[in-house]
Symmetry: C2
Subunit: 311 residues, 2 copies
Amino acid sequence: MEKLLARALAGDTRAIGRLISLVEADTPSSKEIMKAIYPKTGKAQVIGITGSPGAGKSTFVNRLIARFKAEGKKVGVIAIDPSSPFTGGAILGDRLRMQDHAVDSDVFIRSMGSRGNLGGVSRGTHEGALILDACGFDVVIIETVGVGQSEVDIVKIADTVCLILTPGMGDDVQIMKAGIMEIADIFVVNKADREGADKVAADVQVMLKMLGEREWVPPVALVSSNKNTGVDEVREIIRKHGDYLNSSEEGRRRRWSQLQMEVEAILRGEISLLVERSWSARRSDELMEMLSQRKADPYTLAGDIIKTLLK
Amino acid sequence: MEKLLARALAGDTRAIGRLISLVEADTPSSKEIMKAIYPKTGKAQVIGITGSPGAGKSTFVNRLIARFKAEGKKVGVIAIDPSSPFTGGAILGDRLRMQDHAVDSDVFIRSMGSRGNLGGVSRGTHEGALILDACGFDVVIIETVGVGQSEVDIVKIADTVCLILTPGMGDDVQIMKAGIMEIADIFVVNKADREGADKVAADVQVMLKMLGEREWVPPVALVSSNKNTGVDEVREIIRKHGDYLNSSEEGRRRRWSQLQMEVEAILRGEISLLVERSWSARRSDELMEMLSQRKADPYTLAGDIIKTLLK
């Protein structure tokens, strides 16, 4: 384990992949890995890329990777695959589009299932990003599934949230999805070579005004990933947003709030494990029958289980 | 509290409403209320009504209420309103259609927000149903929002799940939604006076065959809520399904599995409370700053908190 850690921290791609797998699988060693990794984190800018399926997130990420590479930056990417809570199966797919960079030692791309977490942004995602950060990637990009809770949850991990919109996709609906407007730091109108892009941008501006004054006013950038235009501008905005977070009270608040959610998530995981164990030690056919016949009640039972665990 | 409980258990509608509000608000007394209520539960048949928005769930529920009333049965209804997790605002709406029965002491109708629970079926929903059960309602109907997880989650609470379909609504999509076919005990093709109803019914039959043999083969009923046809048939199926659950091994398995999920949900709630309390006692600006500067790590911190908490 010592060796694996040393190799990963030295930038060995295979060792990094192995570390992420160990942590993702929630093995007994995960916690030790994370404790060892943690002091080395906090250097990378974590960029969350969100937006509805079909908005062209992967293509845009591809362009962004190339832009960072041109600066000599190391880029880590975590792409969250949609996976059914029923089958647990991950649908690969347009991940392939990112394979341009796959054999590159300065670019590390990892697909992660969203298994066990409907939102798509799981502990594993966060821990994967922390590992990449510790292993020397200057930028960590997390591409969400872009459905439901995942779009909003990304704000718990990312320093900079980039919302990808696209003309002609029922734009009002895209934008007005609950909570999305509030969390985006940058709006990217992708496929800007298509008709309607200006209107989407204008609509976003109107809606941003409705949200009231804020210190960081999210810029709206027009991008064509296909024609590779506008990507430099987004890169500049990402830089400015990073600087803003490092120098503002808002940046500090955000870091603290993310750390707080992180501690809570770890605590919840730990306590859940203990409670689960104690519940499965208790569970018996007799007990189930008693509950079933209302000779016991789940509220008293739960209280007892908790009591036996606590000091 | 004693008095309120006694009045509710005696069937006083206002007292029942007040109890549900107390429990829904998760007040300190909630747990005591539920412990007192629980031994009196397990008598009602809990019927979950699910199906896409626009399938006519409320109108159908209205007809079903009338049918039960004609038998002299007391009917409790919990209708889950869609509410944004961000605003907490509930959209009322076609709840009004059910107001035919609203001033009736044998019929109790309650709208509940799905606040804090994207799926729509929350602890509050379940506890509301338990209260109605304990307070002497013979039948408790839960009408879901019919979106996403709520449709599947209803199986955690309902004895009998009724899926409402309707012709011309992209039927394949309606039916094939992940997990829905598997959990429905009764299929209702509503608006059967419209063209295409027979085809929907036939499609369901084909898909049911694909699911393989089961002891309870979910019947498919054609209903027109507007013309009030087919509702008696559904009522009969509901009765048969209730009998089946009471006499079969499958029924016992289902009750046990629901009880298990109930215990786990209560435990989860307790865990969150513990996490919040233990962490907020520790949290300080100094600690946050240390975490922020990586002089402390959340994993070690969480471990410490757990150690002080547990035996």
